[in-house]
Amino acid sequence: MSQLTSRAAGEKRTRLSLLQLLCAVSLWRTAVTQVLPLCGASAWWVTLACLLPGIGTAALLRWIMYLTHTDTLPEAFRAGLGKAGMWLLSAVLGALLLVEGLSGLTVLITLFTQGVGTRGTPFTLSLLTGGALLLSLHREGLSRAVHFLRWGMIAATVLIAACLLPDARLDQLFPLYGVADASVPEALKAGISLAWPLTLLLTGPCAKGDGLSRAVLPVFAAPAALLLLTLIMPGELLTRPAALADLLLLPAKYAPNALQILYLCLLMLTMFLAVGAAVQLATEQLCIPQKRCPGWLPHAVLIGLVLIQTADAGTLWELLSAVQPWLLVPLAGVALLCLPASIIRRKIV
């Protein structure tokens, strides 16, 4: 039994690492590509503000779990709204994770083609990346790989931050409300849904009791990194019009070559793993109502995402950027739908 218990605990830890990676990468990607170009030096506190809707939605979902005395969200929705509720939740979370995977893959391919200058067309690079992901998509293997690599990724992040810190200047935080043509309200609108992955993290079985504070730590990596970016670069450089790839490479643009390479490797690795995580979690969510997941489904989903990369990357990114601010709406909607039923059920019980 102890072997089973320790195995279950280990799987919980690896699962938590996977969710933390997905949250951290998603927040960073959205903050750098959607929020930072709009508000420049204010990006760090605007991102912190944009976490609130996601935290609120997660709190609402946790309350539903508390009212229904369940340990997982699907069980809570099944208790509140029946099987239809469970299907609805699966569909919403599955769709959100698919959008997340598509955004991650689009950004990764754009980074390869326009940021680094890799030989090949976007589609051939998608095939290459998709092929590597197909090898990596294993039910427990991916989460174990993320858990295994976590200290390496954290160490690389800390090293990059430590090397950039000597260039920090406190005055570059001011004016607090932005610099040049910055627009804080527009940035808030663009980033309002950036914290939707928090709902997965905060409603997981790992985020209970003492584990909650440790579980959410990576979430604050994005605002902390943006704060550092603001301190090391003047606002006029942060809000200069730039392409998607240039925005991703901005943090290390003015750093020595070695640091640029380290940052690039860390970015590619974390984004690659986050795409795999999104695909795996999406297929899990879609299969929850059926209680079984065909082994070929994650691979089929991944192939679908790769095939979508045949579309023009610029148009695809515009579409994904237009959808990004609305991602929290369906999740908040289903939560508000389930809440009255959960309250009524609690009163009856």
Partner: protein
């Protein structure tokens, strides 16, 4: 096996990431840029890749800077790559006409640009400058330039002025670029230029080196003598339109009395800062202190710091201690 693939993937992808293999690129060590009335001229110093080493100059010209770079690329035996650039020398007339920042921004947008290259201004013919760049010792020009730049910075003859430093100063502080000159056929780096092309002598650059904290130990020349100083500490405060500069240092050797040295230094620094502020060069970064009192962009723009700075009054006090 899968974990191994994940670990090796970044290495694999990075190795596929180079646009050209190393042997198919010409790494420019120095780039010289000038602009006449009609055309841009660029001169790149690249290795010949022959046994025994040696360097050659490739040139390009065009109606725009990008066209000139493309022309230089076409004239080069291999594709030019700027990832090993050590020195960017620009004609001072380009700075005087206000085109320097655009040039530096254009270069910084290149994917292969080395942001730690030193930026220098010169009024010498750029082709002669490029031809004169030879390794003084050893066979690597890049190493020779690195050593020369480090040595001049330690001596206080020049201030650090990399492309990264210059661009990241932004609107709140003005850079002091390196002054490049030719002396008996060799390239000499001493003194400085503001971004608008105002020349600073070696002594003035040494004073700025003390004020900006780049040199803690220095030999400085004042009107009536000279002194070896160390442990310099500077405090700069902005109070409305009055800027107070307090400099304390230790003199280890001096041909002047303490009072004479203090007065001489204070007069030299006051004269220098007044000249720079009249020219609109905020070398001490007072704009940073001004920005900290603003809370939104409208207030910062209303402040109109570049114009306000020209009317700044200076108050300089120097305290010298030590065995000399």
């Amino acid at each position: 096996m899968r974990i191994l693939v994940l670990l090796l993937l970044p290495v694999w992808l990075c190795s596929a990431c180079t646009a050209l293999p190393a042997e198919e690129r010409a790494f420019a060590v120095a780039l010289c840029v000038e602009k006449t009335a009609e055309e841009w001229h660029v001169h790149g110093r690249i290795p010949t890749y022959q046994p025994g080493g040696g360097y050659m100059t490739v040139a390009g010209e065009g109606g725009s800077f990008s066209a000139a770079l493309a022309d230089m690329d076409a004239a080069s035996p291999m594709r030019i790559n700027l990832s090993q650039l050590r020195l960017l020398a620009v004609d001072v007339s380009l700075a005087e006409s206000g085109g320097l920042l655009n040039l530096l921004t254009t270069l910084s947008n290149r994917r292969d640009m080395r942001m730690q290259c030193a930026v220098a201004l010169t009024d010498e013919p750029l082709q002669s400058v490029a031809e004169a760049l030879k390794p003084a010792a050893g066979t690597r020009l890049s190493k020779a330039l690195d050593l020369m730049l480090n040595a001049r910075m330690e001596q206080g003859s020049i201030l650090p002025a990399t492309l990264s430093d210059v661009l990241r100063l932004g609107e709140r502080q003005s850079p002091i670029l390196i002054a490049l000159a030719m002396a008996e056929g060799d390239v000499s780096l001493s003194g400085g230029y503001t971004a608008d092309g105002v020349y600073l002598s070696v002594d003035e650059t040494a004073l700025l080196s003390l004020l900006l904290g780049h040199a803690k130990t220095l030999r400085i020349e004042v009107t009536e003598g000279s002194a070896e100083v160390r442990d310099a500490a500077v405090k700069v405060c902005l109070d409305e339109d009055l800027a107070r500069v307090e400099l304390t240092l230790t003199a280890t050797a001096s041909s002047l009395t303490q009072e004479a040295l203090e007065q001489g230094l204070a007069d030299s620094i006051l004269g220098l800062l007044t000249r720079l502020s009249t020219a609109g060069c905020d070398v001490l970064g007072l704009g940073r202190q001004a920005a900290m009192h603003t809370h939104d962009v409208t207030q910062w723009q209303t402040l109109n710091w570049p114009e306000k700075y020209r009317d700044i009054r200076w108050q300089v006090s120097v305290g010298v201690s030590g065995p000399a």
